[in-house]
Symmetry: C2
Subunit: 610 residues, 2 copies
């Protein structure tokens, strides 16, 4: 758990709080007695990130009634239930110069100008669904609880106080009943609306509700999708143009964040895609916005350039790395001939590591990088292990790019789809289906497969009938007499597919040279299945580490197919050394040479990875 | 060079063009004869990215007069010359429901509502600077040429036509002279204003002008800064709220991009931080916006979710990788004792690779990741090689984080400052100065330095007085008699600091064991200076690769200080083998063991890097 008190963000919030605590202009709303009871010195600030982390200071866990800050969320809920075109029939999207409690309706359509003024919010309440009034109240409470990520309740005293005194809102509701914008009994609609305004929240709750908007409609703590992205868009647009009462124009120029304020003294501002800021401090200015709330938001926006149009011009670099198989090969251990072939021809396989988020501009940049690459290779592997999202714009363009690349005869594989977040995985699946991409669990598996396909094209087949010890790299340089000595000392062993030849943790005294077949190197993972980290084939040896360095085997070795190996122990080597010292020094020199090659290959991989 | 005709973006633009070409509603503006001459079928589309790449189709290189699309750029120029407070005295920032050519001024301040209506734009023209009228015209032309990245000229016929018929604009100018909003002869101000509207541009020019806004005020092709970021912010805010005449409200809800249109049929829309879209097609709708321009922009925004509030919730992952020196050590080759010490204690050194852009939200996430890490280590290395930008908000918070971390006794280094873009390098320099960070050219140099500091603390000093061949790993296991044989065959060689012991490319028959001193491994780079890729110290050997594998030396080896080595050739080894076969097999086994260790270390680095 992150210790927030040591965070510079926490320190900053405390400084802000100290700075604006003394600002004692404004007056607590008094049009209903319950609101007038608020302590003017109350002052809480909370930040929430799109991964649900909340920083807060001051009275950030004190509850107050949500009031007008409820309006964008209620509007979002209506969009989600009924769709935009149905909601637009009842309430417009035009900013208005009129006050928030204006009775004026849009002359042309007879509907409220927008859902951020009382008339519009009441029209939205009239769109509630449910069989009974109680169902509709419960539906409203559940909606807001979903945004906040905890069960919210209604402040009954505030509700009753509003219900008793809300005559202007009654007038608005009856006017709209008259024009047909609401078609339920006004008293029932107002009852629901007043209850909505009386929901008890804290600054931290509001910050999380805002973070749900910033996070594209998904509550970052619960993971619940509250709004579709297009409805988040609509809600934020209206908060931007109409959220701060008559102050919206100047707010948009100076602060530049979609925001909503309410008479209980709350201001909620959202930086889409990044974070939200909630401030609660009851004293209001003449327009009806929290004095400390506005001052604090202006300061934050100014300090950190959070204005929506204060962009660092920055398109994410989605291509993390491009490698070719001549420099970076799969974990499969290769004999020198295969190594040479891959060093010469491996450039025909490209491995592209993707990262971050693919959206319109980052996809454009990625495609501009990959298009010349795709023109030069036969095999293209897209490793999506670090790709977190892929929006519809990116998907459409990547689709076109893949189709064109495939039409030019490039084999394309995509690795790690299954490990991706659900939305990204679904998009990648669609791309793979539509373009006949080959799927692999890991980039290494794809790389090995394409290496094999490439080698298949270019290497001469391995001739088992001509197999003899002399074709094994380890025994190279021995003459016939010396090879006879070796044959006499070591014996072939046969294993069947699935046989475990070495067991991780066991002590090792013998190492093995493969005459025929292949074996896999497996290491345990947290899960049931072991991870295959390498593959060893004819002419290669394994198990020498434990023999040379002493100690236990570091991996399981399992035969992939029927496999013939020669086993050698330290005693065997000593015996051979006694018979002819040059046998031993030749074998050790060959081994050292093989090691030198592996070190060189390792260094290549390291420099390719850096 | 990227071949655009194969790009899916180009294909998409062509499809759009085909789709809306047939849309023949609207009428070409005819209030001046020159505009009425435009061919109604003209239709060009251009996209420009923030790195200056332009995709285009149709009549995208045909010139037309810029008209009202000039207004945001002229406003930006005024903000840049005079500052926002001076400009705000003469022209407001309030959206207005009035028509673009309205004569009405803001009653309260007697100034035009905003610089996107004619009155505001004329007030902006009155703010031009220069000693003579010609200077002011040239200043205006230079400003627009800077945005477009090429020298623009004025369409004299259009200019004369407007000057002769612009009586309504004359009325506006005289009204403002009357209220004191302009203080130059109206005819001169209007002359400049009409010339500005008559600048000849193409859709591609407009796209690049828009990309300059999208790119935070810097022309992406010329690199010239045209506007400070805060003035880009102000310009985009007004384009968003007032750019599309009376259509601004609906545009903001549906399309959601800051935009500006003009009577010659151009629409320019900007997606801040990402790209711009310019469309030219003369027929206008009743409000005065290009019919094909609006339709095409709506389609693009809808197809790709470019609406400003249609965000993929995505905070860049700035921490690319965290490594510790127990798993990933510097390139310096270590003896087994040092390797063991680093394996046990290297966790006290952390190497953090940063990437991409640091802004408020990405800095918050980074600090949240680094704070627990910083609490656990003694040395923290920030490798900024892939960090592209650092905005003021990020700088402020990173500053606080570094100060706190340093106060807790962590040594902090920053590598690769010099290789960063100028703005990022300047910010990193400030952070390093303020927090006493140690600077390194490369992360490897920082890693090696901190490894040495760590080893200094924990290892026992190497005792040269007790040095003998038996302390060299390669000769371990030899008894006294065998060591005497070795001493008789090999001879120590002494090198001084700077001596080149091995030369890259030379053939190699000898390998070397270091008794005392250290040597550097150097490989050539493109530049004058070679890159140091490793360091080898006492007890280690070098030069064995060329001896084992045959062929040429792969690097230069240069003594760092007075160094004593033993050289061994294949002949030496053979001689030793004849004298006592077990000497040779012991040496070869030790060598193989050393190799096995290097392979294991290489594998660790590879798995750490992946």
């Amino acid at each position: 758990m992150h210790d927030d008190t040591r965070s510079p963000f926490h320190a900053y919030l405390k400084e802000l709080h100290g700075r604006f605590r003394g600002l004692d202009a404004g007056a607590v709303a008094d049009y209903i007695p319950e609101l007038a009871k608020a302590a003017p010195e109350s002052f809480g600030i909370a930040f929430a990130t799109i991964d649900g982390h909340v920083y807060s200071t001051g009275d950030s866990t004190t509850a107050f009634s949500i009031q007008s800050v409820s309006k964008p969320f209620a509007y979002g809920g209506a969009l989600e239930r009924l769709g935009a075109s149905e909601v637009l029939r009842k309430v417009g999207v035009e900013p208005t110069g009129e006050a928030f409690n204006s009775i004026v309706l849009d002359q042309q359509n007879n509907r409220p100008f927008n859902p951020m003024v009382n008339a519009g919010a009441i029209a939205v309440s009239a769109l509630a669904e449910g069989d009974t009034h109680e169902d509709r109240i419960e539906g409203m409470r559940a909606l807001f609880s979903g945004f906040a990520g905890r069960s919210l309740d209604i402040d009954e005293a505030v509700f009753r106080s509003e219900a008793e005194t809300g005559h202007r809102n009654r007038a608005i509701a009856y006017l709209m009943l008259n024009t047909g914008m609401i078609d339920r009994p006004p008293e029932e609609v107002l009852d629901l609306y007043f209850r909505q305004c009386a929901l008890r929240v804290t600054a931290e709750d509001l910050a999380l509700m805002g973070a749900t908007l910033a996070n594209n409609g998904v509550n970052p703590r619960s993971g619940q999708r509250m709004l579709a992205p297009e409805h988040v868009r609509d809600v934020l647009t209206l908060m931007m143009s109409c959220g701060m009462y008559d102050y919206a124009g100047e707010w948009s120029y100076d602060v530049g964040l979609p925001a909503k304020s309410g008479v209980s003294g709350a201001v909620l501002a959202v930086l889409p895609g990044q974070l939200s800021i909630a401030i609660w401090s009851p004293p209001l200015d003449a327009i009806g916005n929290s004095v400390r709330g506005v001052a604090t938001c202006r300061q934050i926006s100014q300090d950190f350039g959070l204005h929506l149009f204060m962009n660092a011009a920055s398109v994410e670099e989605v291509v993390r790395r491009i490698a070719h198989a001549d420099r970076q090969s799969s974990l499969r251990i290769r004999n020198p001939r295969e190594r040479d072939l891959l060093a010469s021809h491996g450039g025909r396989i490209a491995l592209v590591e993707l990262q971050g988020a693919l959206y319109f501009a980052s996809a454009e940049r990625m495609i501009r990088q990959l298009q010349p690459l795709a023109a030069e290779v036969d095999y293209l592997i897209l490793d999506t292990r670090r790709l977190n999202s892929l929006d519809p714009a990116a998907e459409a363009f990547v689709d076109r790019f893949l189709a064109g690349t495939r039409d030019e005869g490039v084999e394309i594989a995509v690795a790690e789809i299954a490990s991706r977040p659900a939305d990204a995985a679904a998009a990648l699946d669609r791309l793979a289906d539509r373009n006949g991409l080959r799927r692999f669990d890991t980039a290494d598996a794809a790389l090995e497969t394409y290496e094999e396909m490439l080698l298949e094209k270019i290497r001469e087949p391995f001739d088992f009938s001509r197999f003899s010890l002399s074709t094994i790299e380890l025994f190279k340089g021995l003459d016939d007499a010396q090879l006879k000595h070796v044959e006499a000392v070591i014996q072939p062993m046969q294993f069947e597919a699935g046989d475990r030849i070495l067991r991780r943790g066991a002590e090792g005294h013998m190492f093995f040279v493969i005459a025929r077949g292949t074996v896999s190197v497996l290491v345990p993972t947290g899960s049931e299945t072991a991870m295959r980290i390498g593959c060893i084939g004819p002419g290669q040896f394994f198990g020498e580490m434990a023999v040379l360095e002493g100690g236990a085997r570091s991996a399981d070795i399992v035969a992939d197919e029927r496999t013939i190996c020669y086993g050698l122990t330290a005693d065997h080597l000593e015996t051979l050394g006694h018979q002819d010292p040059r046998i031993l020094s030749t074998i050790l020199t060959n081994m050292a040479r093989e090691f030198a090659g592996r070190i060189r290959r390792g260094n290549d991989i390291i420099s390719a990875l850096q």
